[in-house]
């Protein structure tokens, strides 16, 4: 970065925003609107008193309350199990479908591509209800199994799209070379295609796990006795009223989510910066 650029990025940003007229103003106000509530939320997690609006002094007591809340610990455990299991299934299924769609010619290929993206535009609440009705119709007890399946349906379109985007941009010459050298289809996939797709598969896994971890709608219909996830627990806590305990729990989740976001984006951010500098 040259000195001149660094200077431009420095104190001039405020005037630059306002020099840009309406869109600059709207953007500035929008970012305050989007981020300020989160700052306030985090600040009051450190409040000494029970109030989430009146500041009475700094303390870490509410983090201790969260730490000692057995319900939250149990819900966190359920959420993590469902997130990891559903993300693993979603990523594996999505990656296989993505490779098949980008590599093979078959009847109904476009239709399948559309069907895989369909849960994205169907209302999640209807998918949840349908799964609930179907499972009770089949006599299946609601619990981990039903919830994991439900979360896979929610994340599958995303994991498929991510791996598909990566698979369609790969250099086919490598795979052709492997085939020329006598590798069969499975060997080519495992030793040539798969290693190149690992970054996309990793991203798909993290995104799927995050979607599952935050899910409320699908969980509302597919969770059973003893499988209350963290969002379900938070929802019932919120309906009873808000104490800084929610803020403390929220702060911990914010830190965890942002850390994961940077972990994933860390791979892509340098790339994005490079392309924007063109």
């Amino acid at each position: 970065m040259s000195g001149q650029q660094a200077h431009r990025a420095g104190p001039g940003w405020f005037t630059r925003v306002f020099a840009h007229g309406l869109s600059g103003w709207v953007t500035l106000i929008t970012y305050i609107f989007m981020l300020a509530p989160i700052v306030v939320l985090i600040a009051f997690a450190f409040n000494a008193g029970r109030s989430t609006v009146v500041w009475t002094g700094f303390s870490l007591d509410w983090f201790e309350v969260v730490w000692n809340n057995r319900h939250i610990a149990r819900a966190l455990q359920v959420s993590l199990i469902v997130a990891v299991a559903s993300a693993a299934i979603s990523t594996a299924t999505g990656a296989l479908a993505a490779v098949a769609i980008t590599r093979r010619q078959f009847l109904g290929r476009d239709a399948l591509g559309a069907a895989l993206a369909a849960p994205l535009v169907l209302p999640e609440i209807v998918l949840g209800v349908a799964l609930l009705v179907f499972m009770s119709f089949m006599g299946v007890t609601l619990g981990y199994g039903t919830m994991i399946i439900g979360h896979v349906l929610v994340s599958l379109p995303f994991s498929t799209l991510i791996v598909r985007a990566a698979a369609s941009s790969l250099d086919l010459q490598l795979e052709n070379a492997a085939a020329d050298l006598g590798a069969n289809e499975w060997q080519t996939f495992r030793m040539v295609t798969l290693p190149q797709l690992m970054p996309a598969i990793f991203t798909a896994f993290i995104l799927s796990a995050t979607l599952s971890f935050d899910n409320l709608v699908m969980s509302t219909f597919t969770s059973g006795v003893g499988t209350t996830t963290l969002p379900l627990r938070i929802y019932s806590m919120l309906k009873l009223g808000i104490t800084p305990e929610i803020n403390a729990l929220g702060t911990l989740l914010v830190v965890a989510n942002v850390a994961i976001l940077f972990l994933v984006m860390g791979r892509y951010l340098p790339l994005m910066l490079k392309t924007s500098r063109r």
Partner: protein, 272 residues
């Protein structure tokens, strides 16, 4: 390689949706338990005033959320795409952060901010705008604020994605031919970005119809929308046939939304 995804979609999406559709025509006893038989009563009952009010509420909320999100999201996407320069990736990342924070936690922040003792009331009293705290929580406005807050990032990304590939030479050509900034925007930039606007509208409108937590937490549950109705019918009243009919209706509304989206997209493509 396709077997797992086909199996998942067929067994857990297609078949369950068919079961729901079948239940929506089933008879029920006075407690809502399913009885064998065929009836259209579950759909006929949807024309009762109470249900019609729910549809009106849902449509009003989804439509206003979509409109506000587009009105705010477009200038933001425009700024990031054309004016932010090297700050663009950072701005996109900042917009991702709230999107990745548990949405209930984000809504709880608004419950606190809009409360009688909340910072917005405190600030307004401090500035002398009002004398006594205003009860904002439990109003339609509060629900709308929460909805826009939840869905706004979903509008910025598709519009941004549609704006960035626009060839700068097209915009320059407009200016060279004597068009002012407003005319260049209306006749070059806006038409070219319409596919992104349609996608954004679809991404906001469809999920807005099925939301249930925001109207309960911020709107005080006063205005029932389709999402609340489905949760109540299935999980509280256990009235599966009636709930199935409402679900089928919501599915049809989404289908209409998708068809409208595809038609609008084709029309824009034809214009080029």
């Amino acid at each position: 390689m396709l077997a797992p995804s086909l199996l998942l979609l067929t067994l857990f999406v297609l078949v369950p949706l068919c079961v729901v559709a079948a239940y929506s025509f089933a008879l029920r006893d006075s407690y809502g338990a399913v009885l064998p038989g065929f009836t259209l009563d579950n759909y006929r009952d949807l024309f009762q005033a109470a249900y019609l009010q729910v549809f009106v509420n849902s449509f009003k909320l989804a439509a206003s959320t979509t409109a506000i999100c587009l009105l705010i999201g477009y200038p933001v996407a425009y700024f990031i795409a054309f004016k932010a320069g090297r700050a663009a990736p950072a701005l996109l990342l900042l917009l991702l952060i709230p999107f990745w924070i548990n949405f209930l936690i984000r809504i709880s922040a608004w419950v606190v901010l809009l409360g009688r003792g909340g910072l917005i009331n405190q600030g307004a009293i401090g500035l002398g705008l009002i004398d006594v705290p205003v009860g904002m929580l439990g109003t339609y406005g509060a629900t709308l604020v929460g909805m826009v807050y939840a869905f706004l990032p979903l509008t910025v990304f598709p519009i941004y994605a549609a704006l960035t590939p626009i060839d700068p030479r097209l915009r320059e050509a407009g200016a060279d031919l004597g068009a002012g900034p407003a005319e260049t925007f209306l006749r070059v930039t806006l038409p070219l970005s319409l596919p992104g606007v349609f996608a954004a509208a679809l991404f906001v409108f469809v999920p807005s119809m099925g939301v249930f937590a925001i109207p309960v937490l911020l709107g005080g549950g006063k205005e029932i929308i389709l999402g609340n109705l489905i949760v109540q019918l299935f999980l509280e009243f256990r009235n599966i046939p009636q709930g199935a009919a409402v679900s089928v209706l919501l599915l049809l509304i989404s289908g209409v939304g998708i068809l409208l989206y595809m038609r609008a997209l084709r029309r824009v493509e034809a214009m080029k």
